[in-house]
Amino acid sequence: MTGQLETLLSDWFDGADKGTLVEGELLASEAPHEIADSLLVHGLLTDMSNRDDAEEMNRVSAVMREIDRETASSHVGRNVSVGPTRGRRVALLTSALAVAATIMMMFALFGPNQNVSAAMASLERVMEAAARPFDRTYSIAIVEEYSNEKRPRQLSQEAWDRETKKQLDGATLYVRGANQYAMTVTLKSGEKRTSGSDGMQSWAFRETGPVHISSDLGRFRGGVPGQQQDIPFLSVHALLSQLTTGYDMERGDEPLGVGESHPLSQLIGVRRSREVRGPKRVELWFDRESGTVHEMLLEGLPRGGGGPKSLRLKLIDQSELPADFFSHRSHHEPERKVILD
C-alpha cells in the first residue's frame, strides 16, 4: 500500500476532513481491493465494539413500527392505485375516486378522529412493547385513598374490612413480558406477602406460610386493586389490552421529559361506561421510540376489590433480572412447603 493511499484511508477513518486528498478519486479507482479491505475491517471492529443486543432489538422494533405505521396509512392510497385505467369515462371516474380518496384522507388526517386514531396506534405500540420479554421494575405509589370514615352503602363489610389490609404504597412490581410478574406487599399485620407468575403457574406465599401454586394465572391476584374489575393490575399487558376495548383513548398534551433524548408521550383512557369494571381514568406516559410504559396513573379504582382510589406506577429500572426470577423458588428457601391449589 502506498503512503498516499495510507494517508487517504487514515483521513477517511480518523481525520477531521474526509476525502480532501486531491488524488483521492484516482487512488481509490486504482486500489479498490485495499480500500474495501480496510472499510470492512473498520466496520467489523466498530460493530464488535458497539455490540448491544438490547439496542439491536430496539432497532428492529423501530423498523417494524415504522412499517406498521406506513401500512396502516396506505389503505386509502391502495384503493386508488388498483383502480381501472382505460377509457375516458373510466379515467374521469378514477379522477373522481382519487379526489374522493384525497378528501377522505384529509379528513382522516385533519378531522376530529385524528387524535383517536393516533392514540390507538400508540396504544398498540405500547402493547407490543409490553409483550416483549424484557424486564421492567415499577414502583407503586398511592396517590389518593378512599375515605375510611364511613363504609359506603355498596361496599360489603368484608370488602370494607379487607380494604386497609395491604400496604401497597412503596411496593415494587417486577414485570417480564405479557404474563410474568412478582410483587411483595406488606400486610396490615406487618407480615409480607409475595405473589407472582412465571407465565406457566401463579404462586403466592406469606413470610411464614406455605407456598401456594396454581395453573390459573389469575388465582392469586385477589385483593389487589383493580383485579376484581376485569383490569388485572399486575399484568401491565392485560391492563393495556383492556384499554383497547373498554376505554375512549386519546393522546394527552402533557409529555414528560421534554428536552431529553427520549421525551415521553402521554395517552389518556376514559372508561366508556359503568359496565366496564376498571379505573375511571388511566393516564400513561410511554417512550415513543421503544413503546415502553414509564409511568401510569390509575384514577378512580373501583372500591369493590379494596385498595386505594388512585395510584401511580413508575418505571424505576429496566435491568435484566435473573432468568428464574419469576419462579417462586427464587423468592423463598428451598425447604418451604408447596401446596398445589
Binding site: 481509490a28 479498490p32 472499510l39 471492529l45 460493530d47 465494539s49 401500512t71 396506505s74
Partner: protein, 228 residues
C-alpha cells in the same frame, strides 16, 4: 418453519429504482394482483400473503447484523448508521415486490443501503472519494464470502477476528484496541505512546491492513481477494 421460509426469500440486487418514491402498496395486495398476471405470482403468493409482515420481520432480524456492519463500514457517525439502518429496511419493505426470490436477500439490501449512504454524504456535502463503485463491489463480495461461512450467527461467522486481533504485533494491537474497544481518541493514544498523531494514524491503518490479511488467510474474506 417460518424461519426456513424466510431464509429462502431473496431479491435481485437492483440499484436502479427511485429511493425517493414514497408510494407504497401493501405487498399482499400486489401479490393478489400478480397471481393473475405473471409467472412470478406463485412465488410471490407464497411470501406476500397476510403473513408478509411477520416474515419480513424475520428477514430484518436475520440480516440486521450484516446490514449494521455494512453501514458501519461506510459511515462513521453512529446516529447516521441508526437512521440509515431504519431507512434501508423500510425502503426494502416498500420494494419487496421487486424481489427476485431466487436471489439472496443480502445483496439487494446492501444495494439499497449503498444508495442511501451516498445520498447521506451528498446531504452532508462530503465527497466520499473512497466509496467508488469498484470499492463497493469488492466490499459486497467480502460480505458474500462471510455469508457463505459456517456458523449460525454473524458472530460465529466472524469469530476469527478475535484471533486476528490477538495475533497483531503489540504496536498495532495497542492502537487498534485503544481506538475501537477502549474509546481513546487518536490524540490520547499518540500522547500515551509518545508518538505523533500522524504516526499513530498510520500505525492504526497498518493494523487494519494486517487484520484484513489475517481474515483472508482464515478464509473469512474471499480467496480471490487474497490472491489480488
Amino acid at each position: 418453519m417460518d424461519s426456513m421460509l424466510a431464509s429462502r426469500v431473496g431479491c435481485q440486487a437492483d440499484r436502479r429504482f427511485d429511493l425517493n418514491s414514497q408510494i407504497y402498496v401493501p405487498s399482499w395486495t400486489l401479490a393478489t394482483v400478480r397471481v393473475a398476471t405473471n409467472s412470478r405470482a406463485t412465488q410471490l403468493e407464497t411470501i406476500l400473503d397476510p403473513k408478509a409482515r411477520n416474515l419480513f420481520e424475520i428477514l430484518v432480524r436475520e440480516n440486521s447484523r450484516m446490514l449494521l456492519v455494512y453501514l458501519r463500514s461506510l459511515v462513521q457517525d453512529e446516529t447516521a448508521v441508526d437512521d440509515l439502518f431504519q431507512e434501508t429496511m423500510v425502503v426494502a419493505w416498500r420494494r419487496l415486490d421487486e424481489c427476485d426470490l431466487d436471489r439472496p436477500f443480502g445483496p439487494w439490501l446492501r444495494g439499497i443501503a449503498s444508495r442511501l449512504v451516498m445520498a447521506h454524504y451528498r446531504k452532508q456535502k462530503v465527497a466520499p472519494v473512497v466509496l467508488q463503485e469498484a470499492v463497493l463491489n469488492v466490499v459486497d463480495r467480502h460480505f458474500e464470502s462471510i455469508n457463505l461461512l459456517a456458523g449460525d450467527t454473524w458472530d460465529d461467522k466472524v469469530a476469527a477476528l478475535h484471533a486476528c486481533i490477538a495475533q497483531l504485533p503489540e504496536r498495532q494491537k495497542l492502537v487498534v484496541t485503544g481506538r475501537y474497544f477502549n474509546g481513546y481518541s487518536l490524540g490520547d493514544l499518540a500522547e500515551s505512546l509518545e508518538t505523533s498523531l500522524e504516526a499513530c494514524k498510520k500505525r492504526l491503518q497498518r493494523g487494519r491492513q494486517m487484520l484484513a490479511k489475517c481474515l483472508k488467510m482464515k478464509g473469512v474474506l474471499s480467496a480471490a481477494e487474497a490472491a489480488s
